[in-house]
Amino acid sequence: MTTSALPSRRDEAWRYSDIDAVAAAWPLPAPESIIVPAGGNFARAIVQDAGDIRQIELVLGKGAAASLHVLNIGGSYGRIELNVILHEGADFHLGAAQIGGGEQNLEIVTTITHAEPGATSWQVVRSVLGGTATGTYLGKVAVARDAQQTDSEQDVKAMLLDRSATANAKPELEIFADDVKCAHGCAIGELDAMALYYLQSRGLPPGEAKKLMLQAFVAGVFDGAEDEEKLQALALAKLGELV
């Protein structure tokens, strides 16, 4: 993940990035390194609201567990990049939402390496995009030859509020073991017109009706977060700007 030369759109992990914004921030500081020792527990909420590029390297020791909650909403270009290495029996959980409007370009790029047997990883990502915004999720799960009984899941959904917005989603699996479970699902859609009409028919103005449905769409990703209420409130405020 640590790139020595300025990336271009030819680099897979940067193909949808705002390269001008990356160049302006170049060279990037060294990624934040987090090591959770064997049997340890780690939890963090990350709110990207200022147009930053955040790179985190996370290593989970044997039987360790980490739970990250991410809200990616700010700046003209905001990127959150996670490089996670799981040792035997480790458990990684990511719940992420990115919400963008105008000309924002937001991305979440993850590489989860199951280096040893029996580790689990679970990623849920929801994007809401309006205007000409772009939201990208690139999620690579790499399973090493010895990492049998790996259990990995990626659940990715994006909601487009305008036909001019763009969602990119690419789950990528690289599996060298033969006894693994790697699920991935992806859906990109629009708000259901009939549901919106139903809500409006009870008296909700169109903006409020959309906000209610979008709130429900992203709500689940923050379940169990320590700062759950704060994250929900920030997400709701951002959704309010979009509808």
Binding site: L199, S201, A216
Partner: protein, 247 residues
């Protein structure tokens, strides 16, 4: 209260309503019956302002206001309630939150203070009790996993909470078993049979009308009302079928 004159409407450029006229006064319950494809549901959606239902001619006056000029949420705030034939499931949105926000949006439009959480729950509990619906169902996501009958009951609980002036109930009786039909009928009477309110019941069958006595019955066929009468007309239809009456 509601005055429909010479209403023509199309759906996807196909003419469905072809010159429908109907007047409903406060205190009255009207039933519209008719065969499949007559335009019954189209009428309810046109009155409810559903996108895609295009009015090409005619007018609808609701308490002195041009109904056709209003957005769906404005129609609700003006006192119109549409009971859906197929209530929509909305995952993740709780009934209680949805109804409280809806009711308060209507109150705001009328210049009233919002109802507090406690007052709203009291009201919701009362109306759910009236329709014999478990309060737990009100806390669940809107209509998700509800049976057909539970969805219809939920529509009536919503109607009770919102307390509209005019209710248009599109096949509220379909999907109900006999006990639920009685409960829903009693609910409609309790909520809407008042001198300042009116109801337009849209139905295929006589059976709901056994519980909710209409003052007027109309037969809709090929986009127009072809016959009007009292409650006895519904029984005639049941006996002889639409073909004979509408001919």
């Amino acid at each position: 209260m509601l005055k429909i004159e010479n209403l023509h409407a199309t759906v996807a450029d196909k003419p469905i309503l072809k010159g429908l006229s109907l007047a409903i006064n406060a205190g009255e319950i009207h039933a519209i019956m008719g065969p499949n494809g007559a335009g019954k549901s189209t009428l309810s959606y046109v009155l409810g302002g559903r996108p895609g239902y295009e009015v090409t001619e005619g007018s609808v006056d609701f308490d002195g206001q041009d109904l056709l000029d209003m957005e769906p949420h404005e129609r609700a705030a003006a006192g119109l309630f549409l009971g859906f034939q197929y209530p929509v499931e909305i995952p993740g949105v709780s009934n209680v939150q949805f109804l409280r926000e809806s009711l308060n949006a209507q109150r705001k439009a009328r210049g009233l203070e919002p109802l507090s959480g406690g007052d709203f729950l009291k009201l919701a509990r009362e109306k759910a009790g009236l329709l014999k619906m478990d309060m737990d169902m009100l806390k669940r996501p809107v209509n998700v996993g509800f049976s057909g009958g539970e969805k219809k009951r939920n529509e009536m609980v919503q109607m009770g909470i919102i307390d509209p002036k005019l209710a248009i109930l599109d096949e509220t009786d379909s999907g109900l078993d006999i006990d639920a039909l009685r409960t829903v009928g009693d609910g409609i009477n309790a909520i809407m049979r008042r001198p300042d309110k009116a109801v337009l019941l849209i139905t295929h069958y006589q059976r709901l009308l056994d519980y909710v006595q209409p003052d007027f019955v109309h037969v809709l066929a090929a986009g127009r009302i072809v016959k009007s009468g009292g409650p006895e007309l519904a029984r005639e239809l049941e006996e002889h079928g639409y073909a004979e009456i509408a001919a």
